[in-house]
């Protein structure tokens, strides 16, 4: 177990290293990506551009720039670190990137965690109901709805829901925006309810479909027949025997999807509902080709994705003794 963890952690480090390098390279290789020209303003003088290049180190070779950027990124993450000259600063607004991300994390986490609870609960319920009623009308209806759910662009659904269920029409939900939990818990819940549901729709449809076919596969296994032959009730067979095995792939999906949502997957929902989270910060920075914030958010996202990969493997091993790592 220890060796497994150590191996995974080393692998994680290298994946993150490569990812930072690729992200950096995209903005170095891409023509028109010269940040000095953009930072110098509308009518830049040659001297002005040159000055910016020197102060920000854009004239140095790319590996030095990369090294410095990485150093600054990790410096800023160190607790108690306070040296304004050695922090990751954004090109366009000259703000401390790590602080900016920290400020926006609660909004993104609120959105992701709430949506995850909804999609997990409803996804499992939808999958179970349609598997138990396989072939009947209710199963068909659910299957069709799930299909439409996975076929809808989340941002379109968001725009439509925000307008038609918002204050101007149905008046059920408020019009976007984010209220911090610590400020007003009820307002927090009220404002996030619609974004949660919109973000969850895709995953509910997807999990429902996966779980349905998993349950239908498992139901034919010998051990399920044995359980039935022993005289166990259908409810107990389903919950204790069938579901335990059918849910294993859902665990993987859930871990990766949750990490994906935190690592930038919520960007569309955040944009549509004007939630000032990490995703929206990234979207805004990408529009101005502001490398440091993009770097910060990408590292954050990749970190969560890689971390949840490891967690999923551990949970998997716990649920299925056959694949326990040695």
């Amino acid at each position: 177990m220890g060796a497994f963890l150590a191996r995974r952690l080393i692998g994680m480090f290298f994946v993150l290293l490569v990812i930072t390098f690729v992200t950096f390279a995209i903005f170095i290789v891409v023509p028109g990506g010269d940040p000095a020209t953009r930072m110098a303003g509308k009518n830049p003088s040659e001297q002005g551009i040159q000055n910016i290049r020197e102060t920000w180190g854009f004239d140095e070779p790319f590996y030095t720039q990369y090294g410095k950027m990485m150093e600054k990124t990790f410096n800023a993450m160190r607790p108690g670190f306070d040296d304004p000259n050695n922090e990751l600063i954004s090109y366009s607004r000259r703000e401390n990137v790590v602080d900016q991300i920290k400020q926006r994390l609660p909004a993104t986490f609120s959105l992701a965690i709430g949506a995850a609870i909804i999609w997990l609960a409803f996804g499992v319920a939808v999958g179970m109901i349609s598997a138990v009623r396989a072939g009947r009308l209710s199963d068909r209806m659910i299957t069709i709805l799930a299909l439409i759910g996975i076929s809808m662009p989340v941002f379109w659904l968001g725009i439509i829901a925000r307008y038609y269920l918002g204050p101007e029409n149905a008046g059920i939900f408020p019009d976007g925006d984010y209220v911090p939990l610590t400020q007003d818990p009820i307002g927090w819940f009220y404002h996030l309810l619609l974004p949660w549901m919109v973000l969850a729709v895709l995953f509910i449809g997807f999990y429902g479909r996966v779980l349905r076919s998993n349950i239908l596969d498992t139901i034919n296994e010998d051990y399920v027949r044995t359980a039935r032959a022993k005289g166990l009730g259908p409810r107990r067979v389903l919950s204790k025997h069938v579901l335990r095995n059918s849910l294993i792939p859902i665990v993987t999906l859930f871990g990766l999807d949750f990490a994906g949502v935190i690592g930038g997957g919520a960007i569309l929902t955040e944009t549509v509902f004007e939630i000032d989270g990490v995703g929206q910060y990234a979207a805004r920075s990408i529009r101005t080709l502001d490398l440091p914030p993009i770097m910060g958010v990408t590292i954050l996202g990749a970190f969560f994705i890689v971390l949840f990969n490891v967690i999923v493997d551990l949970v998997y091993a716990y649920l299925d003794p056959r694949i326990r790592p040695t």
Partner: protein, 367 residues
């Protein structure tokens, strides 16, 4: 070769020969592809979905014809000051705000907000502004079809490229194994650890500024190739990983060992032994990836990192409509419905295709 033939005749009768001798019936050999096609043919829902998809493709392909013959305008032609006849009554394409004097009473009256585009006229204006106009007075139906044309080109093109790249990488990794497999697997690992949308937007936005001019690749900034390449690159690991897994398990099968023992070249083993055995998976993947990529394209364009305006795509149309949803909801509804229809059709057909090609699915359907 001749002795081998004799030996078979001597030892074994095939099922069809036995049947012919004993019951005087002949069994016709049928390929798995034929059996799959027969299963698919019985699945009317899947065929209906395929038809719907082809209808969407045909409609979008005929966009120039519709624009020229029916709507009589181009996708980027403004009609800000035009007046169109709806049911014989003249209507401004963009409402003129301000005040006017009532000719009967002589009172000064308010006209309402200015610049609100005309809503869907359906067929009441002789094919003009069937789905309304946008705030530049452009015909939404024409833009929707041209936009669909672009979205479908990017969706299908990137699905082709992505599947092809994934297939080549998976074949190389699965067949050669060793360090090549190690390298390709690590590449997939890194690609899968990237936050997909972030990487796609970053690439798309960066490339959209000046295009990409390196070596033989020469792309202008508005080129449709940019989103196509970005999407296919970003998603390659998601197709490549499962394919590699399948090839890895096929590689251990006896028929591959037999082909190796007979001295089959790597090329031959990859293309005539391994490829036919994963062809059905590839086909199913391809269908579902088109659906997925249409959604990714829409997301990219919505965020301004895909198709660049004024060139339309379903994603850019939604992002243009988003701000006008209060006064002109048809700008947002039209392209969204088009996306949902197309993607649902592809997903339903993909499901049907998988059920037809995967014999396990037959067991599943019998419940």
């Amino acid at each position: 070769m001749a002795t081998q033939q004799q030996a078979t005749d001597f030892t074994l009768d095939t099922a069809s020969e036995l049947a012919a001798e004993e019951h005087e019936v002949s069994i016709v050999g049928r390929s798995p592809w034929y059996l799959a096609w027969r299963r698919l043919r019985r699945n009317k829902v899947a065929l209906g979905a395929l038809l719907l998809f082809f209808l969407v493709v045909a409609a979008c392909a005929l966009a120039p014809v519709f624009a020229e013959r029916v709507a009589k305008t181009g996708p980027n032609e403004n009609h800000i000051t035009d007046v169109v006849m709806v049911d014989g009554k003249p209507v401004d394409v963009l409402s003129k705000g301000g005040t006017y004097t009532d000719p009967e009473t002589g009172e000064l009256k308010l006209r309402g907000a200015a610049g609100v585009p005309i809503g869907p006229t359906w067929w009441n204006a002789g094919g003009k502004f069937v789905l309304g106009a946008d705030t530049n007075g452009r015909d939404v139906a024409v833009r929707l079809l041209y936009g669909g044309n672009n979205s479908l080109k990017i969706g299908i093109g990137s699905a082709l490229l992505c599947t092809l790249m994934a297939l080549v990488l998976a074949l190389l990794a699965g067949y050669y194994g060793g360090w090549l497999d190690w390298g390709i697997t690590r590449f997939f690992d890194v690609m899968a650890a990237f936050p997909v949308i972030l990487l796609a937007i970053a690439l798309g936005a960066a490339l959209s500024i000046n295009g990409f001019h390196q070596g033989p690749i020469d792309l202008e900034s508005g080129s449709l190739w940019i989103p196509t390449l970005v999407i296919s690159f970003v998603l390659v690991a998601y197709v490549g990983r499962p394919l590699r897994g399948q090839i890895l398990s096929l590689r251990e099968k006896e028929f591959v060992e037999a082909a190796v023992a007979q001295g089959g070249s790597p090329w031959r083993i990859m293309f005539s032994e391994l490829l036919p055995n994963i062809a059905s998976s590839v086909l199913v993947f391809f269908t579902l990836i088109i659906a997925n990529n249409i959604l990714v394209e829409a997301a990219l364009s919505f965020l301004g990192a895909g198709v660049q305006p004024p060139n339309p795509s379903w994603g850019t149309l939604i992002s243009e409509g988003q701000l006008r949803i209060r006064t002109a909801p048809w700008l947002t509804l039209g392209p969204g419905v088009a996306i949902v229809l197309t993607v649902v059709a592809l997903n339903v057909f993909g499901d049907g295709l998988r059920d037809a090609l995967d014999p396990r699915a037959k067991v599943r359907m019998e419940h």
